[in-house]
Amino acid sequence: MNKIPNREIVNDVLVRHAKINKDIVVLASDSRGSAKLDPFAKTHEKQFIETGIAEQNIVGVAAGLASCGKIPFVASPACFLSMRSVEQVKVDMAYSNTNVKLVGISGGISYGALGMSHHSVQDLAVMRAIPNMTVVLPADRFETEKVVEALLETYGPTYMRIGRNPVEDVYESLDYEFTLGKANEMHQGSDVTIIAAGETVRVALDAALMLEEDGIQARVLNMHTIKPLDTEAIIKAAKETGYILTLEEHSIYGGLGGAVAEVVAENCPVKVKIMGIPDEPAIAGTTPEVFEHYGISAEAIHQMLRNELKGNKEA
């Protein structure tokens, strides 16, 4: 079991690059501890900016810094950063085209029992509706490193969401191809496609491995970039597997499932089942407990797909 949360990886990569690239700045809204940014703040004091608990201001300030050539990373809880500052994201970042990187920490239902005020399960819907935004969710610590490296090399306003706790690895190392906007096929299959992003990729992969034992071949796509979306991979999956299941730590409205359904409906209509957090304040619990409650577990998905697909196979 991996013990390193993705937050720590963000800090490590930025510490490494900030030594060489003095334009990298990190901003926190009284969130340096929860973002695991203490090492950055200590080693790069002059490149670290505290704004206090003021999410509108932090994004505006970051946009101003970016317009003067800085590369600001704003690390703040996803629930506040994606909602409290959404207009600054729309106008100061996306519309003005400034190179600000938002890092929404403790995203999704990471904060568990703290309740709906602290959950961010509308953030993908909000962020992907804004023109010029890139929206990305790494699946594990290796992908987190790939994403931060890619953001450092790519100009443009971005929202990146990570969770609070360590997540099981889906990759074995950094030795794989990662491109923003290009889905990674994690498991081959032609009976069904499971499209997942972020922490649900591990769940999808485990479900696919269980289905394999039943003779059902599930394709698993890691759709780390919600925007720009890899429409080609989605259309291909719809054509070749005829059934798509989406799995996300987000409302069933407007997130990964919505994005996939838009592409499928327009290009090659096949059945799309959208799984995520239903339209209600999420139940209190740890991430595995909440996931299981809403059927986002390898066992539940394995059982559901086996029941649905076994008949087809036998017929």
Binding site: T51, Q56, A63, S67, C68, Q88, V91, D92
Partner: protein, 279 residues
């Protein structure tokens, strides 16, 4: 600095504004005229900006936080040569770059604004970047008085004082009118000077339609060591055209043919008076 030539330039900008709004049949006439003297003083008298090198990293920055007062901005950029004067005729027309709020696809515009309460934070980020890079440029932002009701203004105010951004000057176009009426009736703001002082700012109150007063305070660099400066610029909404002055109804109103003629005549007379007293 030749104050008289700045004053003449401000009248010329007002003529351009009336012409542009009359031609486009749309515009924020009142606020555009109240902020003309402030913006003309900045662009012609104070700021280091160059239409031939608009991205010079050492340039002074301007953020129009009250983005709806875009008319003087477009007219100034045209008079200064950032854009062709001919393009002013496209203001607010189909497909134009010269929309009803600042648009950074136009040379000379740093950031897109339009929603109130954004400019101060953005300007603070720019001023902080200058400090980090040990550069000498200054950052100016112009806010509306109605805008002071936005909570984000005060987030920015706290931040700029905390980081001692003395290279930042925020100006409030205090014309005391907003779209629904008097600011003090819509949402009381006074004492605005005390509010800003209590946030740690150097506050200076002046007549914001007096170019000599504007020039005197804005040229000081820094106006106050270790503190950002807030210029509380008391202005007259609709300044320069008698029947537009102090009328809330002119927030967003377009002159009729007769009103256009009268406005241009009044402004021509002002221009003539400035030339005569000059000689």
């Amino acid at each position: 600095m030749d104050i008289r030539s700045l004053e003449k330039q401000a009248v010329q900008i007002r003529k351009d504004i009336i012409e542009m709004i009359y031609g486009a049949k749309t515009g924020h006439t009142g606020g555009a005229l109240s902020s003309t003297d402030i913006m003309t003083t900045l662009f012609y008298g104070i700021m280091n900006v160059d239409p031939k090198n608009p991205k010079n990293p050492d340039r002074d920055r301007f953020i129009l936080s009250k983005g709806h007062s875009v008319e003087p901005y477009w007219c100034l950029l045209a008079e200064l040569g950032f854009i062709e004067k001919e393009e002013l005729k496209t203001f607010s027309q189909f497909g134009t770059r010269l929309i009803g709020h600042p648009n950074n696809k136009v040379s000379g515009v740093e950031m897109n604004t339009g929603s109130l309460g954004h400019g101060l934070s953005v300007a603070s980020g720019m001023a902080l970047a200058a400090k980090m890079d040990e550069k000498n440029y200054r950052v100016f932002t112009l806010m509306g008085d109605g805008e002071q009701a936005e909570g984000s203004v005060w987030e920015g105010a706290m931040f700029a004082a905390h980081y001692k951004l003395d290279n930042l000057v925020a100006i409030i176009d205090r014309n005391r009118l907003q779209i629904s009426g008097c600011t003090e009736d819509v949402m009381g703001l006074d004492p605005l000077d005390k509010k800003w002082e209590s946030f740690g700012w150097n506050v200076i109150e002046i007549n914001g339609n007096s170019i000599p007063e504007l020039y005197e305070i804005l040229e000081k660099k820094p106006a106050c060591e270790g503190k950002p400066t807030l210029v509380l610029a008391n202005t007259t909404k609709g300044k320069g055209v008698s029947f537009i002055e102090n009328q809330a109804a002119w927030h967003h109103k377009v002159p009729t043919d007769a009103e256009y003629q009268q406005a241009m005549q009044e402004l021509d007379e002002q221009l003539k008076a400035l030339e005569v007293s000059y000689e």
